[in-house]
Amino acid sequence: MPISIDHYVYLSTVLFCIGVMGVLLRRNAIVLLMCVELMLNAVNLLMAAFSTHFNDPSGQVFVFFIMVVAAAEVAVGLAILVMVYRHAKSVDIGLFNKLKG
């Protein structure tokens, strides 16, 4: 591997934190979900980098499982969003405060 593993660790940490920042900042539930996807992609990149570093394909196979789960999660999540939108006519999470914490 021509590029040292550290570079990949830093890159995916930065991407992961951008995703976390999006989750903390945004109020639009769809954008929030996209930021979660960004976090998962950072993980995928890190896994693939470690897999190449260790010469061990199981890291790459794990990435497939993450993709599987991400797809299933997005399908269910968007279904929930559409259901919520039908009632509230909005996907702004700031408006959902009927249940007081």
């Binding site: 591997m1 021509p2 590029i3 570079h7 660790v9 890159l11 940490t13 992961f16 934190c17 951008i18 995703g19 976390v20 920042m21 999006g22 903390l24 900042l25 945004r26 109020r27 639009n28 769809i30 954008v31 996209m34 996807e37 960004l38 992609n41 995928n44 990149l45 693939a48 980098a49 470690f50 897999s51 190449t52 260790f54 010469n55 061990d56 394909p57 199981s58 790459q60 196979v61 990435v63 497939f64 499982f65 993709m67 599987v68 789960v69 991400a70 797809a71 299933a72 999660e73 997005v74 399908a75 269910v76 968007l78 279904a79 929930i80 559409v82 259901m83 939108y85 996907v91 702004d92």
Partner: protein, 175 residues
């Protein structure tokens, strides 16, 4: 050459990642995210994980992002209607995320990654090799993930179905 490519791809993915977060319109977020995904696919090719790169493009850019776009169009959310959070909240979000980043990079800086114990094998990322691993070592999780899809499918259909209360009375009498 490879180093330059790495830095270009990293730069692109970080900038477009930030655009996902800060774009006003959700559509712009989706488009930036797609660019991010392509940049990450480029990284996979640099990492000698060719099959992964293809699957990544197919699944993320091809399926997941299309789903996002579809929902955005369906609900007609392509407007910059998001009310601004107050500055204090925004600042808190940015600061806590930056703190997390500093802490994480600090923790990871200089930590030792064990050396590879397996021999270098440049064909690790090819379908043949991955298939061997997936259907030998990982066959149980593979089967189990079918359960996940079945459950997600049933769940999405359940939520998507129109509720009986939305059916008119005359229709109910027919039933």
């Amino acid at each position: 050459m490879i180093e330059i490519l790495f830095y270009v791809l990293s730069f692109v993915s970080i900038v477009t990642g930030l655009m996902v977060v800060f774009a006003k319109s959700p559509i712009h977020s989706v488009l930036s995210l797609i660019v991010t995904f392509f940049a990450i696919a480029g990284q996979y090719i640099l990492l000698n994980a060719q099959f992964l790169a293809i699957v990544h493009i197919i699944v993320y850019a091809g399926a997941i992002m299309v789903l996002f776009l579809f929902v955005l169009m369906l609900l007609n959310l392509n407007k910059e209607a998001e009310p601004n959070k107050d500055i204090a909240m925004k600042l808190a979000g940015v600061i806590s995320a930056s703190l997390l980043m500093v802490t994480l990079t600090g923790a990871l800086h200089g930590s030792v990654v064990p050396e590879a114990t397996l021999a270098v094998n440049t064909s690790n990322g090819l379908v043949k090799n991955l298939g061997q691993v997936l259907f030998k070592d990982f066959v149980v999780p593979f089967e189990i993930s079918s359960l996940l899809f079945l459950a997600a499918m049933a769940g999405a259909v359940l939520l998507g179905k129109k509720h009986p209360s939305q059916i008119t009375d005359s229709e109910i009498q027919k039933i």
